[in-house]
């Protein structure tokens, strides 16, 4: 049991109230059931489901995974049975989960996103929606929605119109200026932002002269990307007022604290579950300890508190550049 005496780890993300500030990352944790026999789901906060699309998708050819230094590349390609089958066959099972369930929506057109969100949002088993805007936009020659502030805004507005449920928009780090995209998402009605999705990368098999992933490129996750993610959260926190779910390489309580201090109200844990599925529980316990030891009653007290920079006492002529 987590010792919560004197500390409040709860967070409110939109309308979603959680006893613990932790999400299990989309695509990393199945629907929770896969971990249920050995992890107490009542203690993990929320599971973000694997992203679902309008039509069924087989996903990318194999291989889909490569280990890299302090991280991994994945290129699953949104394998999923499509929204119809999903609603008929899968969603009812989520009712029994003792944690919050966040649906994840993916698409290849604005209409896709709206359609899937609308249908998913009808279901009580789904507590909130996350919009994964990192898919290629078929109409713009494969550019992803997440890379264009206007396209992001369009998707978010369309999805927002379909539901009153809490809407989390998941941003991609593969952009020049993540803060401008965050601002558009907020203005278009997002209740919260998930920061960040995976970083684009590639690995090559030098014996076979071939990409290591069937899809050639993939998404980098794990501790390797943590400094990138912490900065993204820090910059987004300065640009918006809605809460942020920080993610990217969180493996320890200290890692989690970096995200809270950078401005995240909650965190998400993905790849670390592949290192040790007990990590989320350990982090929750140690967060409670950290707060108690410092007499901080609630996590909210540390959110965004690493904002004080340094002064620069010494300058020279060219430093003003």
């Amino acid at each position: 049991m987590v010792d919560l005496r004197g500390v409040d780890l709860g967070v409110k993300i939109g309308k979603l109230e959680l006893p613990y500030p932790t999400f299990m990352g989309s695509g990393c944790y199945g629907s929770g059931e896969e971990f249920a026999s050995f992890v107490d789901l009542a203690r993990i906060g929320a599971v973000v489901l694997k992203s679902v699309t309008r039509l069924p998708r087989l996903g990318n050819p194999t291989p889909r995974l490569v280990h890299t230094p302090a991280g991994m590349l994945n290129a699953i390609g949104l394998q999923n049975p499509g929204i119809d089958w999903y609603l008929e066959q899968e969603v009812a099972k989520f009712a029994s989960r003792p944690c919050a369930i966040v649906g994840s929506v993916a698409g290849f057109s604005v209409d896709d996103y709206a359609y899937v969100s609308e249908r998913l949002a009808t279901r009580d088993e789904i507590d909130a929606l996350e919009v994964n805007v990192s898919c290629p936009n078929v109409a713009s020659e494969g550019e992803t929605f997440a890379c264009d502030p206007k396209l992001t805004a369009k998707v978010v507005r369309a999805v927002r119109a379909t539901t009153d449920k809490t809407l989390i928009v998941k941003l991609s780090p593969n952009v020049t200026d993540i803060a401008s995209i965050a601002r558009e998402a907020e203005a278009a009605g997002a209740d919260a932002l998930a920061v960040i999705n995976t970083v684009r990368g590639m690995a090559i098999d030098v014996d076979r002269w071939q990409p290591r992933l069937g899809n050639v490129t993939g998404g980098l996750s794990g501790p390797a990307i943590r400094p990138i993610a912490v900065l993204a959260v820090y910059e987004v926190a300065r640009a918006v007022t809605i809460p942020i779910v920080g993610q990217g390489g969180i493996e320890t309580t200290s890692d989690a604290l970096e995200f809270f201090l950078a401005g995240a109200s909650a965190i998400s844990i993905g790849t670390a579950n592949f290192t040790d599925p007990q990590i989320p529980l350990r982090i929750i316990e140690e967060l409670a300890q950290y707060l108690r030891l410092r007499n901080l009653g609630s996590l909210a007290k540390i959110v965004g508190k690493a904002n004080v920079g340094f002064s620069n006492p010494y300058q020279y002529e060219g430093d003003e550049g």
């Binding site: 194999t62 089958w85 501790p223 290192t275 599925p277």
Partner: protein, 274 residues
């Protein structure tokens, strides 16, 4: 396959013994009665490398009896190196048993084909079958004599041993599948575990000879428990092991990707489209 409800748990297990069967081939025995109780032949565990910095790694359950289970592995990279550094008295953390094992019902005359460390996943089925009175032939191949580890474990269980080494230092000089393809004394079932090229040859032999074959596959894993869809293999959609997927409305293939860690690791050779 023997699809079973998951009974996986995280075990914080005391290491009871450690043997190095050949240079770089380690067996770790540990105290895990709860694991032993529910393990079925062909299942595996995800072992957590002690530093806590690397992904957990899949290892077949080699032995399982009484309070003791064991894993056997080749030291090939960082994770297996960390696990190899464990000693009796240390603890090992592992999640398991995972995956679906071999289907052993009504098997009377079986050829088990193991390549290299593939041997780690076939002791339990060999034991179960010999004890059930089946005839069990073990086709066991490795690079060299010294790496044909623990073959006596199998013969003492009553298995007939057919061995092959790349360098001819024991048995046939060449591939173990050479021996399998040459026999005219056909088994009614083949079980195989080993490198993918070996498994492909086994699948071809099984098809030519019209023998049912169960292959235990290896893929790069992330979660190992069905949560990430990273470890998939193409499977005919009509397979009982195929994951839930709607029939195609148009231009759909008759294949779906199944998770090696969850729907497998054991698949029927004729249902794979790899």
């Amino acid at each position: 396959m023997a699809t079973i409800a998951t009974s996986a748990a995280i075990h914080h297990a005391l290491v009871l013994d450690r043997q190095e069967l050949a240079p770089g081939v380690v067996v770790l025995g540990f105290d895990a009665p709860a694991l032993v109780r529910v393990t079925r032949p062909g299942q595996f565990v995800m072992a957590i490398p002690p530093s806590g910095e690397l992904a957990a790694t899949a290892l077949g359950i080699y032995e399982a009896s009484g309070n003791r289970a064991s894993v056997m592995f080749f030291v090939v990279g960082k994770r297996t190196a960390e696990l190899a550094a464990l000693r009796a008295g240390d603890h090992i953390e592992l999640t398991g048993p995972l995956g679906n094992g071999f289907t052993l019902d009504n098997v009377r005359n079986v050829a088990i084909v193991a390549g290299g460390v593939g041997i780690a996943s076939v002791l339990l089925p060999a034991q179960a079958l010999t004890r059930a009175g089946a005839r069990v032939r073990l086709y066991y191949g490795a690079r060299t004599n010294a790496l044909l580890v623990d073959h006596d474990r199998f013969t003492s269980e009553g298995c007939e041993l057919h061995a092959a080494t790349d360098d001819g230092s024991m048995g046939h000089a060449g591939y173990i599948t050479d021996l399998l393809s040459q026999t005219n004394d056909l088994p009614d079932m083949i079980l195989a575990c080993g490198p993918t090229p070996m498994l492909r040859v086994v699948a071809r032999i099984a098809e030519e000879r019209n023998i049912a074959a169960q292959l235990s596959l290896e893929e790069t894993f992330a979660c190992g428990v069905g949560g990430c869809w990273g470890c998939v293999v193409p499977l005919v959609r009509t397979s009982k092991q195929a994951p839930s997927f709607p029939p195609a409305q148009r231009n759909g293939s008759d294949v779906v990707y199944a998770r090696v860690c969850k729907e497998g690791p054991v698949f029927w050779a004729h249902e794979l489209r790899w």
